[in-house]
């Protein structure tokens, strides 16, 4: 069964203090690894898709990387508005149209001004 595990569960950083969030996955036939941001009371907002080991994607202060077993979301010099829950999800192989998205439980990130 596909599994996605995120760590840490919660992370508090001072504004400007860089860090990384971890996502470990066990998925047969990985089709894509996704990162989402979720603010309280809202739906997950798509950030990145990574398709193969070694791939990197960047957006503002965020950079996502992928290995064969893990993905990291690096946050550089974060600001208070980066506070949110960050969700990782993996999409495995399967019959076309039947590829499930398996989510981790998220990392709740708080940036202290």
């Amino acid at each position: 069964e596909d599994q996605v595990t995120q760590s840490p569960e919660a992370l508090r950083l001072q504004e400007g203090e860089s860090s990384s969030l971890n996502c470990s996955y066990t998925v047969s036939g990985l089709r894509g690894l996704f990162w989402y941001r979720q603010d309280p009371g809202k739906g997950p907002e798509f950030l990145f898709t990574l398709y193969s080991a070694g791939e990197e994607k960047e957006k503002e202060r965020l950079k996502a990387t992928l290995t064969k077993k893990e993905s990291f979301l690096h946050i550089t010099a974060p600001k208070p508005e980066d506070s949110a829950t960050y969700l990782c999800a993996a999409q495995g192989g399967g019959v076309f149209g039947n590829e499930k998205l398996t989510f981790g439980t998220g990392t709740r990130l708080t940036i202290i001004p």
Binding site: R31, Q38, P44, A89, Q91, F96, N98, F103
Partner: protein, 116 residues
Amino acid sequence: DTAVSQTPKYLVTQMGNDKSIKCEQNLGHDTMYWYKQDSKKFLKIMFSYNNKELIINETVPNRFSPKSPDKAHLNLHINSLELGDSAVYFCASSHAKDATSGYEQYFGPGTRLTVT
């Protein structure tokens, strides 16, 4: 311009009632999903429809019945509501580009269902 919308945003009802949640997407996507997010914020897929055809049906009680009148709409009807059904329900949509690549899903704002 809202991409994936859901109504209602909040739904409070009593045990045993029947209720529906509606979802619409204007992204032109051909696949739509329902997810349940529990109190621990864990998102789990319930159903997916591709071109109005049911594709994924996870282990969900028969009291939950999705209906897709067209590619842009996917509604969720729940019969005989139970306390354990209380959660946030998210609709999502995606466009399947091909059979080998993953494709991102776009989520609605969620419907918070409270069963008393």
